[in-house]
């Protein structure tokens, strides 16, 4: 409860603060201070179970250690994002404090999507999460690519909302109690009634849109490519894992008992997502676009949690959110500093900026899933969860193969950084353009992020233990 109320309030504070802030750098500090307080408030609630605000929500929201741990992970990733990329948010346009306000509203939506107990709150959470993002995507107003991405995202987002609402209506009509509570939709072990089945498929399609799973992923590369790079970083991490939490909570509580009947569908979606994401990423020349496809591929791995739907899967999903967010925010923070986004742009970075190159290597290794990194542990959790379910081993095998393919395109960047020299005619410009922007604080933060990834890779229980408070 703390996080939901405080993020909304702080969003409003940031919005009106824009009138009073004199300097362009002020909003960043306010946002970081506010977010730190919100994280502390949320951790206190997680430890004690007692929120500051005792609001009677009539069971429409539920707070347990799983939800609250996830909210902590999402908020902490956002804090890291502010710290690493705060200066780049200031460069997007003139309305800096509004961007921060919108990000806080997105966080409020993520918190709602993580704690919903009725379909109404699910719908509101997803919408509160998406609508500010349409604005953030188009925030580079003069840039035609940003406009195009924004319109595409908007039309696709609203389209999927329509499908989700139709699904909700059918679920409401199909359950005999006439209720929106996700536990009441839970049908027995028998065959699903036709209306519930239709509603479930509609909602599955809509959620696949939101998390960019395979047959409905086509908007993702264009939108991630066109949006200002700082906001791509935010969209690809916090918002995407927020969608996954909503996905797993809905399907666990509402359709958990008929797991066997829809599991094949999820298995097919997961396999297709892994295949398309990884295979298309191999052919990309632009690193930004490659990371967009790689985020589709990572979504395929996270879908394994919804496929397996057991305790290991839930632990794994939290760990995956943390590992994936840390690594992706880190690699995007480095990408923003690069003068051009092609793979050749990374040539010779190892010599010019050794700190950036080494930390980028850690992030990429974590995304690939090399042992000793958090990415390895989280992928391991996902595969173990799917194996524990005990059926459809082909999916596990396929996921491992796809992870091997992903090594190819992640290593291409590492190779460019360390084993290729910078182009001569670009060399001078590149080093000066890079040098201006990179402060020692930024380097220190990158090193801390990389260290966090390695620590999580060795002791994953640091995150998963929170689930058992």
């Amino acid at each position: 409860m703390n996080a939901i109320i405080l993020t909304a309030v702080w969003g409003i504070v940031m919005m009106f603060g824009g009138v009073f802030f004199k300097s362009k750098a002020t909003p960043k500090y306010w946002a970081i201070a506010g977010l730190t307080l919100i994280i502390i408030a949320n951790c206190l609630e997680l430890r004690s179970g007692e929120p500051f605000f005792n609001v009677d929500v009539k069971y429409m929201l539920s707070f347990n250690s799983f939800n609250l741990t996830f909210i902590t992970v999402a908020l902490a990733s956002t804090l890291l994002f502010f710290l690493l990329s705060g200066r780049d948010i200031e460069k997007v346009g003139a309305n800096v404090s509004e961007y921060f306000a919108l990000i806080f509203f997105v966080l409020c939506g993520v918190c709602l999507a993580a704690t919903f107990n009725t379909l109404l709150i699910l719908f509101l959470g997803i919408e509160i999460m998406s609508i500010p993002l349409y604005i953030l995507t188009g925030s580079d107003k003069r840039n035609l690519k940003s406009n195009e991405a924004s319109l595409k995202y908007f039309l696709m987002g609203v389209f999927s909302t329509g499908i989700m609402l139709m699904g909700i209506a059918f679920l409401y009509g199909g359950n005999s109690e006439g209720s929106f509570f996700i536990n009441n939709i839970n049908v027995g072990d028998g065959k699903m009634p036709a209306m519930i089945a239709i509603g479930m498929v509609f909602i599955m399609i809509a959620m696949s849109f939101k998390v960019s799973a395979a047959p409905f992923h086509f908007w993702t590369p264009d939108v991630y490519d066109g949006a200002p790079t700082v906001f791509t970083s935010f969209m690809a991490t916090i918002v995407k894992v927020g969608g996954f939490i909503a996905f797993i909570r809905l399907f666990e509580n509402s359709f958990g008992k008929v797991h066997g009947q829809w599991q094949v569908l999820i298995a097919i979606i997961a396999a297709a997502t892994l295949f398309i994401g990884n295979l298309t990423a191999v052919f990309q020349q632009s690193v930004k676009r490659m990371l967009a496809y790689s985020s589709i591929a990572q979504a395929g791995f996270m879908l394994l949690a919804i496929f397996a739907l057991n305790d290991t899967a839930k632990e794994g999903l939290i760990l995956y959110s943390a590992a994936y967010s840390l690594a992706t925010i880190g690699i995007f923070a480095i990408l923003i500093k690069m003068p051009d986004y092609t793979i050749q742009g990374f040539n010779g970075l190892g010599k010019q900026q050794p700190v950036l190159a080494v930390t980028a290597t850690v992030f990429l290794l974590s995304l690939t899933g090399i042992p000793l990194t958090a990415g390895f542990q989280s992928k391991l959790f996902m595969l173990m969860a799917a194996l524990r379910y005990g059926k459809q081993y082909w999916l596990v095998l396929f996921a491992v193969l796809c992870a091997a393919v992903s090594a190819y395109y992640y290593f291409k960047i590492i190779q460019a950084m360390f084993f290729k020299d910078a182009d001569q005619h670009l060399g001078e410009n590149t080093s000066t353009a890079l040098g201006n922007d990179i402060t020692p604080a930024f380097k220190l933060l990158l090193m801390i992020t990389a260290l966090l990834i390695i620590v999580l890779g060795v002791f994953p229980s640091l995150v998963t233990d929170w689930l058992h408070y």
């Binding site: 109404l120 719908f123 509101l124 919408e127 609508i131 349409y134 604005i135 188009g138 107003k141 003069r142 035609l144 690519k145 406009n147 195009e148 991405a149 924004s150 319109l151 595409k152 908007f154 039309l155 609203v158 389209f159 909302t161 329509g162 499908i163 609402l165 139709m166 909700i168 209506a169 059918f170 409401y172 009509g173 005999s176 109690e177 006439g178 209720s179 929106f180 590369p221 264009d222 490519d225 066109g226």
Partner: protein
Amino acid sequence: MPVYYYIFLAVALFCIGIIGVLIRRNAIIIFMCVELMLNAANLLLVAFSKMHHEVLGSNQQSAAGDAQIFVFFIMVVAAAEVTVGLAIIVMLYRNTHSVDVNFLNRLKN
């Protein structure tokens, strides 16, 4: 009237909306088709609400009334989407002098 009539009408509206989104090229018309989809869901929710009301009887009125309140939420969210969506379309129009989505192919290559 049996509830099937309402279901058929809502599904028909929904399909018209989906087909419109898929085949029309004007951003505003696509947007109108999406609104049609949302309204199909509204209609369906109200019809189901009345259906549950008859089945469950008057002692469980709140259960059946929930859907009608849901409809108000959908309307509010749709209004919020209109404000953002039209702003995006206006922004695009200022830069390209067109609202045709076929112009939107700069990101492909």
